[in-house]
C-alpha cells in the first residue's frame, strides 16, 4: 500500500534511482511528541517494475482442453435439461394466454353472430317485407304463377308467368 509518508519519500528520491524495499528501523524511544505515530504497514513500500513479456508466447495446454469441453458440455446439458424442463411450462403458459384470448374471441364472435342473426330475422320478417312490397307496388302471385327454374329447395331463380 502506498502511504502518504512513503509517497513523500519516493518523490524526494532522485529520478532513476530505485529505492529498495526496506523496513525502516524502529523509532527511538525519545520521540517528538508532536510526531505522528506510524500507520500500519507504513514501513512497506511498493514500487513499479517494468516487465517485458513481449516475448512470451501463448501455449495451448494439451490437458486443459478436456476440462474446458467438459465444462461446456456439462453446461450445455444442464441448459438443455433446464430448457427441457422449463420450456413446456413456458410454452404451456404462452399457449394458455393464447387459448384464453381465443376463447374470449370465440365467445364474442358467437355473441356477435347471434346479434346479427337477430337483426337478419327482423329485417326478413313478413310484416316488414310486406311493407316494402307495398311501397314497391308488388303484388302477391297467384297459385301456380311462379315457376321454379330449378329443383324446389335448391332454386334461387324463379319466373312469374303472366
Amino acid at each position: 500500500m502506498a502511504t502518504l509518508p512513503a509517497f513523500f519519500r519516493r518523490t524526494e528520491t532522485p529520478a532513476g534511482a530505485e529505492a529498495p524495499a526496506v523496513r525502516l528501523a524502529a523509532v527511538p524511544a525519545e520521540r517528538d511528541p508532536y510526531l505522528l505515530r506510524n500507520l500500519p504497514h507504513d514501513d512497506v513500500i511498493f514500487w513499479g517494475k517494468k516487465i517485458d513479456n513481449s516475448h512470451l508466447v501463448r501455449q495451448t495446454d494439451p490437458r486443459g482442453g478436456r476440462p474446458c469441453w467438459n465444462v461446456i458440455a456439462t453446461a450445455g446439458v444442464i441448459l438443455a435439461l433446464l430448457l427441457g424442463v422449463l420450456a413446456p411450462s413456458v410454452a404451456n403458459r404462452v399457449a394458455g394466454y393464447q387459448l384464453e384470448a381465443l376463447r374470449v374471441e370465440a365467445q364474442n364472435l358467437a355473441d356477435e353472430r347471434r346479434t346479427l342473426e337477430l337483426q337478419e330475422a327482423q329485417l326478413l320478417s313478413p310484416a316488414r317485407l310486406q311493407q316494402l312490397a307495398q311501397k314497391q307496388n308488388l303484388a302477391t302471385p297467384t297459385p301456380n304463377q311462379v315457376s321454379r327454374l330449378e329443383t324446389k329447395g335448391e332454386s334461387k331463380v324463379a319466373m312469374v308467368k303472366k
Partner: protein
C-alpha cells in the same frame, strides 16, 4: 481470532439458513393448504359458461324466437353519492324516465336494499357509455335476453319467458327443459393483470336444443293478417285460424286474435285477455259446421244417402213438447246433401234423430271432440261434450246442429282432416324437430270409412258451389267446406243472443286430393254480416289461396271460372235470412245459418225422372235439367260437375255418352 470470527459467521449463516428453511417448511408444508386457498382465491375464478336458450324455427328455418347476449344495469342504492344526481345521470344514459327512476332508487334506498336493477337488456351502446363513466357504483351484469324478431307473429303458440328466461307460456313453457339447456362451469386461472392463463372446465355447457315447428312463417303471417282484418271488419271479439296438413296433422298456421307482442312484458287486463290462445284454449259452440259430423254418422249408421230426401217439416219441428223453429222460412223435403248445402237445422235434427244418441255420441268422439288433441301447448281445452248419461231429451237434436257441445278451432280442423284424408283421425303436430331429431308421427286412427269421407267431401263441395259457403270458392281449385253461425249463449240471461254469433268456416282444398284444411272462427260477430258464410268464408278463401300457392299445389280447375248461378227458384239466400220467424222466444236449438230453399226441394223421384239414364263409365246427359237435379244426379253417380250460368242445362262438356275418366269434371252450361 480469525477462526472464531469464521465460526461466528458460519453459525450466523446456519441460523439464518435454518430460519429460512423453517419458514419454507411453514409456507410449503404447515400452512400449505391455507396459502393455496388464498392463492386460488386471488388467481382462480369460477365462472359460468353460458348455455344459450335454444332457438325456435319455423318449418323453413326462419327464426321465430332466439336469445342474444345482453347486459343489465345494477346499482347499490346505499352507495350512491347523490340520489338525484345519479338518477339524472342514469336516466340520461339509459333513456329512462328520471322521475320514475328516482322514485325507484329512493324507495330501494329507504328500504335499505343493497341492489336495484335499473334496466335489463341494455343496448351495447348504452353499455359502452356506462363503462366509460367508470363509476364504481354502476355494475353491469351479463346475461341473455329472449327476442321474437317477428313481433306478434305466432305469439300465442310461442308463448314467452320470464326475466330469467324461463318459459311461462306456449311452446316456451311446454318445451322449457329442452330449450333451456344446461350452463357449464369453468375454473379460470388469471394472472396479476387479470388475464386468463388457463381454464379448467368442470362442467360442460349444453346449449338448448333448437326446436323446429311445423308452422310456415309466411302462411302464419297471412292467417294472422286476414283474421285480424276480419275481426276488425265485423266487430268481433276474437278470432282464430288453423291451417293443417290433413294427412300428418302438421299445423301450418295457428292464428289467434287479438294478439300481443311477446317482446313486451305483460301489461293491463286487456293485454292478459289478448294472450288467450283462442284457437286452442277457448271453446265455443260450433253451430252448423257440426252438421258434418252428424251427416258422417248418418252415412255410416243409417241407410241415408246424399240423395235421400229429408223431411224438413216446413222449418218447424216439435220435440218433447218443445217447438223448434228452423231459422228460415221453412223447407219441405230436401236431399241430404242439400240439407248440408243449405244448412237446414230441422233437416240436421231429422238426420240426427235417425242416427240415435249412442251412435251420435260415438261419432262425435270418433272425430276427436271432447278430448284434447295432445298439442304441446299449455292451456289446451278439451271442449265440452257431456257424457251420454247427462244428455237431456233435446240434446241429440241440439248436438245434431252443433249446440250443447263446445269445441275449439283446432278440434274442428282435426275433424275436417278426417274428411280430407279419407277417414283417419290424425294427431295434430306443431313440433317438427327437436334439435336434429325429427319427431315420429303417430299412427292415425280410423274414424270413418274412406267412402264416407269421399261422399262427405262431395257434399261439402256443394256447400261452396251452391250453398252457404260461396264466398269460400277458390280460383283454380276445387273446394269443400261448411259454414257455421252459432248463436252465443248468454249465461247471464240464460238465453241465446239474437244478434251475436260465432261465425265459422271449415274447409279443404283441392277436393280431389286435399292438401290443406283451413278452419276459421270469428267469435262475437254482429248482425247478418257476421255469419260464417259472410265473415269467415272470405278469410278461408284468402288463407287457403295463399297456402296452396306456398305449398305449390297444382291447380285442378281451369282459371277464370264464372261463379255458379242457380236457377231462379233456387237462388240462395244469405245466412241473414235466418231472421226471427219463430215465436220470438229464446230457442236454444235455433241456428241462423241456413237459407231458404225448401220451396225448391225436388223430390227424389223427380230427380231421378229428370236425369237421363246413362251407362256406367260414360258421361250422362244433363240437358234440360235444373242445377239441383244435375247436382243430385251427379252426386248419386259419384261424378263431379262444374256448373256455369243459371237456368237449365243447355251445353255440357264432355258430351253425353262419351267416356268418363276418373276424376274428370263435367262442365255444364246453364241458360234461362
Amino acid at each position: 481470532m480469525v477462526e472464531r470470527r469464521l465460526v461466528c459467521l458460519a453459525g450466523f449463516v446456519l441460523v439464518w439458513g435454518a430460519a429460512i428453511f423453517g419458514k419454507l417448511i411453514t409456507l410449503q408444508v404447515v400452512d400449505h393448504q391455507n396459502y393455496v386457498r388464498k392463492a386460488r382465491a386471488r388467481q382462480e375464478q369460477m365462472v359460468e359458461i353460458r348455455a344459450p336458450r335454444g332457438v325456435i324455427l319455423d318449418r323453413m328455418g326462419h327464426r321465430l324466437a332466439m336469445s342474444v347476449p345482453t347486459e343489465s344495469v345494477l346499482v347499490d342504492p346505499l352507495k350512491l353519492p347523490n340520489l338525484e344526481v345519479d338518477a339524472d345521470l342514469l336516466a340520461r344514459e339509459l333513456h329512462l324516465d328520471r322521475a320514475e327512476l328516482l322514485e325507484r332508487i329512493q324507495s330501494a334506498h329507504d328500504h335499505h336494499r343493497g341492489y336495484l336493477w335499473v334496466k335489463r337488456g341494455i343496448t351495447p351502446q348504452e353499455a359502452d357509455d356506462l363503462r366509460n363513466l367508470k363509476l364504481d357504483w354502476i355494475h353491469l351484469d351479463g346475461g341473455s335476453q329472449r327476442h321474437y324478431p317477428n313481433g306478434m307473429l305466432l305469439a300465442h303458440a310461442l308463448g314467452g319467458v320470464d326475466f330469467e328466461e324461463k318459459g311461462n307460456a306456449g311452446i316456451e313453457k311446454a318445451l322449457d327443459s329442452d330449450l333451456r339447456g344446461a350452463p357449464g362451469k369453468a375454473d379460470i386461472l388469471r394472472d396479476v393483470r387479470g388475464r386468463g392463463v388457463d381454464e379448467l372446465v368442470s362442467t360442460e355447457a349444453h346449449a338448448g336444443a333448437a326446436i323446429t315447428l311445423t308452422i310456415d312463417e309466411r302462411l302464419q303471417f297471412v292467417a294472422e293478417r286476414e283474421i285480424a282484418a276480419a275481426v276488425e271488419q265485423h266487430g268481433a271479439a276474437s278470432g282464430s285460424v288453423v291451417v293443417m296438413n290433413p294427412y300428418d296433422g302438421q299445423i301450418l298456421a295457428l292464428a289467434s286474435y287479438p294478439t300481443y307482442d311477446p317482446n313486451q312484458p305483460p301489461g293491463d287486463e286487456n293485454d292478459v285477455a289478448a294472450r288467450s290462445n283462442h284457437a286452442v284454449g277457448v271453446p265455443f259452440e260450433p253451430g252448423s259446421v257440426f252438421k258434418v259430423i252428424t251427416l258422417s254418422a248418418a252415412l255410416e249408421t243409417t241407410k241415408l244417402k246424399p240423395d235421400t230426401p229429408i223431411n224438413c217439416h216446413g222449418g218447424v219441428i216439435t220435440l218433447f213438447g218443445r217447438t223448434i223453429h228452423d231459422s228460415h222460412g221453412g223447407n219441405g223435403w230436401l236431399p241430404m246433401d242439400m240439407v248440408l248445402a243449405h244448412s237446414s237445422n230441422v233437416g240436421a235434427i231429422e238426420i240426427g234423430l235417425q242416427v240415435g244418441r249412442e251412435a251420435m255420441y260415438d261419432y262425435v268422439r270418433r272425430f276427436g271432440f271432447g278430448q284434447k288433441t295432445g298439442l304441446p301447448l299449455p292451456g289446451e281445452s278439451r271442449g265440452r261434450l257431456r257424457p251420454l248419461t247427462k244428455w237431456g231429451s233435446t240434446s241429440l237434436a241440439s248436438i245434431s246442429m252443433g249446440q250443447e257441445v263446445s269445441v275449439t278451432t283446432l278440434q274442428l280442423a282435426r275433424a275436417a282432416a278426417v274428411i280430407a284424408n279419407g277417414g283417419l283421425l290424425v294427431k295434430p303436430r306443431i313440433i317438427l324437430k327437436e334439435g336434429e331429431q325429427t319427431l315420429p308421427v303417430e299412427a292415425p286412427v280410423r274414424a270413418i270409412r274412406a267412402d264416407t269421407a269421399i261422399t262427405m267431401r262431395q257434399m261439402m263441395e256443394g256447400v261452396v258451389l251452391v250453398g252457404t259457403g260461396k264466398e269460400a270458392r277458390l280460383q283454380g281449385y276445387t273446394t269443400g267446406g261448411k259454414t257455421g253461425s252459432a248463436q252465443i249463449y248468454d249465461y247471464a240471461t240464460r238465453r241465446y243472443s239474437h244478434n251475436t254469433y260465432n261465425g265459422s268456416f271449415m274447409g279443404m282444398a283441392p277436393l280431389t286430393n286435399p292438401a290443406v284444411v283451413v278452419v276459421v272462427t270469428l267469435n262475437g260477430t254482429h248482425g247478418t254480416a257476421g255469419f260464417g258464410g259472410a265473415a269467415a268464408a272470405p278469410v278461408f278463401k284468402a288463407v287457403a289461396t295463399e297456402a296452396l300457392r306456398i305449398l305449390e299445389v297444382p291447380k285442378d280447375l281451369p282459371d277464370n271460372q264464372p261463379p255458379p248461378k242457380l236457377v231462379a227458384k233456387n237462388q240462395l239466400l244469405d245466412d241473414v235470412s235466418l231472421a226471427d220467424l219463430g215465436s220470438g222466444q229464446p230457442n236454444i236449438l235455433e241456428d241462423r245459418d241456413d237459407e231458404d230453399a225448401s220451396a225448391q226441394a225436388p223430390t227424389p223421384a223427380a230427380n231421378h225422372a229428370a236425369a237421363q239414364p246413362s251407362e256406367a263409365g260414360t258421361v250422362p246427359n244433363f240437358k234440360g235439367m235444373t242445377l239441383r237435379a244435375v247436382l243430385t244426379e251427379a252426386w248419386a253417380r259419384g261424378i263431379v260437375v262444374q256448373p256455369d250460368g243459371s237456368g237449365v242445362a243447355r251445353v255440357q262438356n264432355p258430351a253425353p255418352g262419351s267416356a268418363l275418366h276418373q276424376g274428370e269434371r263435367i262442365r255444364v252450361q246453364f241458360t234461362k
